[in-house]
Amino acid sequence: MNYDAEFLRYLYRRMVSIRLFEEKVGELFLAGELPGFVHLYIGEEAIAVGVCASLTDRDYITSTHRGHGHCLAKGAQILPMMAEIYGKKAGYCKGKGGSMHIADFTVGMLGANGVVGGGYNLAVGAALAAKMRQTGQVAVCFFGDGASNRGTFHEGINMAAAWKLPVIFVNENNQWASTTPCHTTTAIENIADRAAGYGIPGVIVDGNDAFAVYETARQAVERARQGGGPTLIEAKTYRIKGHFVGDPEMYRTKAEVQKHFDENDPLKNFAKKVTAAKWLKQADLDAIQAAVAAEVAQAVEEARRAPYPEDGELFDDLYAEGGLK
């Protein structure tokens, strides 16, 4: 494969954005600066970025409780995301959603979801709309290994398969659902094997390799755009951080986690590969890193200073047509 440098910089920038954004969010949360709960995507950046690189702004994604990475990968901006996590009016959702409910409809990001498995059918519906209107759009649903046991997995994929909808189901198998290891709740090795039950392709990919994810997604997207119907992609990865920031993680050892991170950090993977192949220089990567770090720092400053929603906004945005209080 041959990638042009701009594309590589774009991939790296998005991955680094997620990494630095989340490191900062984790820090701020532990410092008691952020309300709510935050679930970090660190270590899984290659999946969101690899998949979204195969999409356009007109394509849709649905996301999860662990949604920051999906947002940024799809093109959401750092400042309104940070502001949202702070609960500020300048946030994407005017402070009404918070970390678990960020959406950016301008880039086709149809929202994070606090309900595990809540996104399947939303993606299926968006794909149905695309098919009905023949727009050529596709929809991608990100979901976890834990989420793969929700009934909505079955109902959504079955209907999408029966109707050959342009939707791609991307399983982020990070091997943990909160404190519960995947293998204790699922008797099979690969979530992708479930695809056969719906007559659609099931593909396994290294979720720590942005290139592999991108190529896999590209094929699935092409298939979907051409009317070939859904694909189930299982991206194997590992949840590097606790389930939420502050998780005591009594259920696994630090060593296990560190080993995974040392061996599979998708950013390090990427940097190694592109510098070894001489596609990009370390200096390019450093420059991106520095630019993103500055942007994140700036976003924190602005989000911190930004005003909270005012009392009078409480009822805004409930009904499009008003009418109730």
Partner: protein, 324 residues
């Protein structure tokens, strides 16, 4: 005015709105091939193709959830629940997604979706096919809930619901589908949120909706025979509740009967009685009379089923008791 059935009235509404706006489509179980259990979708696939009238798998979470997704992507779905009892299967999609998404996302999107749910008791359909669950949704900010009692309102409210940019639950009583009634021609739209006064009177106010609205009118007839003139209010919409119409009537009659088919405890009647106890207590000259099903699942046997149904006599009796 021409008379058509409730079922035909909903079909006219669907047809007109699908003609008017090609973003409108409908999906559910057995609606294309069968035309709906109550004939309420008959002929739609012939008119609009099976691309806009879709028979789904038996997957209520997919029906409701994909409805929400399609709405987010710019369509205007009508989704059918087969029986209202099966909303239980997709309550997450209705309550946590449909109702909350717009608010949680700070108004970035609209959810112009209608969920149709045939409800109510009909010929010993028993506990899992006879429920009236509308009151749950009063308690869920973000939804609107309509519940027509006659063909004209069925048509007008369905059209309004389809045109609404907010999600609307449309409850239609199974026993009403064959009922005939006058329906105005032309673009007949009934605004969501406005109750109607189906009979004027000054002695007692009877508030009801759906099939029970007919029992209320029958009760008013009986009461008239005893010299009591009841004002009968058909709510038509239960969320938002048309408090003003109820209070205005009460200011005249000072007596209130509320009747619905749903279980009395925790029903819509509770909310209405509470509003009165809070905001219009002075208007009351007598205790509120509240009628609803007794506290049991709907039993199968006809001999028991009839015991859980509120009758015109029950309503008239309750009205009489507070008019003494």
């Amino acid at each position: 005015m021409r008379k058509i059935t409730f079922s035909e009235a909903t079909l006219e509404a669907m047809t007109e709105e699908m003609q008017r706006d090609d973003r409108v489509f409908v999906m559910g179980e057995d609606i294309a091939r069968q035309g709906g259990i109550f004939g309420q979708f008959k002929g739609l696939p012939q008119k609009f193709g099976t691309g806009r009238v879709l028979d789904t798998p038996i997957s209520e979470t997919a029906i409701a959830g994909a409805g929400v997704g399609a709405a987010l992507a710019g369509l205007r779905p009508v989704v059918d629940m087969h029986f209202a009892d099966f909303i239980t299967v997709c309550m997450d999609e209705v309550v946590n997604q449909m109702a909350k998404i717009r608010y949680m996302f700070g108004g970035q999107c609209t959810i112009p979706l209608v969920l149709r749910a045939p409800d109510g008791i009909i010929r010993s359909a028993a506990a899992q096919h006879s429920q009236s669950l509308e009151s749950w949704f009063l308690h869920v900010p973000g939804l609107k809930v309509v519940i027509p009692s006659n063909p004209a309102d069925a048509k007008g409210l369905l059209k309004a619901a389809i045109r609404s940019d907010d999600p609307v639950l449309y409850f239609e009583h199974k026993a009403l589908f064959p009922m005939k009634g006058p329906v105005p021609g032309g673009d007949h739209v009934v605004p969501i949120g406005k109750a109607s006064i189906s009979r004027a009177g000054q002695d007692v106010t009877i508030v009801s909706y759906s099939a029970m609205a007919h029992r209320a009118l029958e009760a008013a007839d009986k009461l008239a025979g005893q010299g009591i003139e009841a004002e009968v209010i058909d709510l038509r919409t239960i969320s938002p509740l048309d408090k003003e119409t109820i209070f205005t009537s009460l200011a005249k009659t000072h007596r209130l009967v509320i009747a619905h088919e749903a279980v009395k405890t925790g029903g819509v009647g509770a909310e209405i009685a509470a509003l009165v106890a809070e905001e219009a207590l002075d208007l009351l000259d007598a205790p509120v009379a509240r009628l609803g099903a007794p506290y049991v699942p709907v039993p199968f046997s006809p001999s028991l089923e009839k015991l859980v149904k509120i009758t015109a006599d029950d309503i008239a009796g309750a009205a009489l008791a507070i008019c003494k």
